[in-house]
């Protein structure tokens, strides 16, 4: 089967591998120590998985906002996002 039309690039491949690893990691973590719904600074009770999703989705918007607003390297947005995801997962 010719899958060349999918037009893979190294960066996007790394991106999806990271997502897959993250999902696998969360599953393993969940098996080892099941999450408890907890109330953090977010307006509703969330599980770890919820907080990861919220972190990732908001990171996407952080990246888009960064692209739209500044000419600074996107790695800045990446750093901000990482910090934000860590914050949400720990305290969300």
């Amino acid at each position: 089967m010719d899958m060349e039309w999918m037009a893979w690039t190294t960066p996007t491949a790394i991106f999806f591998v990271c997502i897959a690893l993250m999902l696998a990691g969360m599953t393993v973590w969940e098996v080892m120590s099941p999450t408890v719904e907890a109330k953090g600074f977010l307006p509703m009770r969330t599980t770890r998985g919820d907080r990861l999703f919220i972190g990732l989705l908001s990171s996407a918007f952080i990246h888009l906002g960064w692209l739209a607003a500044t000419d600074v390297s996107l790695w800045g947005a990446f750093a901000v996002s990482l910090a934000w995801i860590a914050l949400v997962i720990r305290f969300g």
Binding site: M3, M6, T27
Partner: protein, 289 residues
């Protein structure tokens, strides 16, 4: 628990007419009737136009055909691409409804009965596919189905429509299944039913109204969708609605023909809903959608 008690939730219906006091009833009924008139007018206009000659359409407004003609329909029925259009559409819609129900039933059962790792996230992920704009997926879909050799087949359209119909089916069925008390499952297992036997002989009959409603929604969304269906087909599996655009553009602005074609594409849907109306009423009466 006896068999009769087991079947009770399916036969519950609320004879709820007590709420209406006379003065307010008429107001609300008037709104309803007005709205139905508003719904029917454009459809009537198209049906009306389909029986007119083009001369009559263009020469002025007539509320009913003064010289009724079947010419428009004759044109359509002498064109073989119309038959195949109908058959194609009905074929892939049926296929899609069957696939959607088959895979959605066990999944909906799992969601309504068990907690498991990632359950809520999978459920949400399924729903996001219902919400993904099809326009986003058009090009990769075309490429994907071409690659796996399914382009221009009925199964391709049926599979593509699963993208939004399967999540919808899981969603609706989960609602119906949650309405069935858990004790029934446990009773059946204690009585020595295996899971497939319990599911087929006890559980399914209890939620058959729900299955009917789900099948209706699957049929509906697959039947009316055109963007994906048109992208994934060229000749062999071309849907009726796409045949319609082609026939019309090939003959210029032939209003009578366009109207007749429109009427013919409404008919199958109207027939289906007429035949399932009691199921729908029953499903809605269960109050779980």
């Amino acid at each position: 628990m006896s068999k009769a008690a087991v079947l009770a939730p399916g036969s519950l219906s609320a004879p709820a007419n007590i709420r209406r006091s006379s003065a307010r009833v008429s107001n609300r009924t008037i709104i309803l009737v007005c709205y139905i008139v508003f719904l029917m007018l454009p459809i009537y206009w198209m049906v009306n136009m389909s029986f007119k000659t083009n001369e009559e359409i263009l020469s002025g407004l007539t509320l009913y055909p003064h010289n009724p003609t079947l010419r428009n329909y004759a044109v359509i029925f002498t064109d073989p691409s119309w038959y195949s259009g109908y058959i194609n559409s009905i074929y892939y819609v049926t296929l899609n409804t069957i696939i959607s129900l088959t895979v959605a039933l066990p999944a909906a059962y799992a969601f309504s009965r068990y907690r498991f790792i990632g359950d809520k996230h999978v459920f949400f992920w399924l729903l996001t596919n219902k919400m993904a704009p099809p326009a986003v997926f058009l090009l990769p879909f075309f490429q994907l189905y071409q690659t796996v050799g399914l382009f221009d087949t009925h199964i391709a359209v049926a599979l593509a429509h699963c993208l939004f119909n399967v999540p919808l089916a899981v969603w609706i069925l989960e609602g119906f299944m949650s309405g069935v008390p858990r004790e029934i499952d446990e009773m059946a297992y204690i009585d020595g039913y295996s899971f497939p036997r319990f599911f087929g002989t006890v559980f399914l009959p209890m939620i058959r109204a729900g299955v009917g409603v789900t099948a209706f929604f699957c049929f509906m969304f697959s039947w009316v969708e055109l963007l994906l269906a048109r992208t994934l087909t060229s000749v062999d599996a071309k849907p009726i609605a796409a045949t319609m655009t082609r026939t019309v553009s090939a003959s210029g602005m032939d209003w009578g023909l366009l109207a007749a074609a429109g009427v013919l594409t409404i008919l199958p849907g109207a027939l289906v809903i007429w035949f399932v109306r009691n199921y729908i009423a029953k499903g809605f009466a269960l109050g779980r959608v």
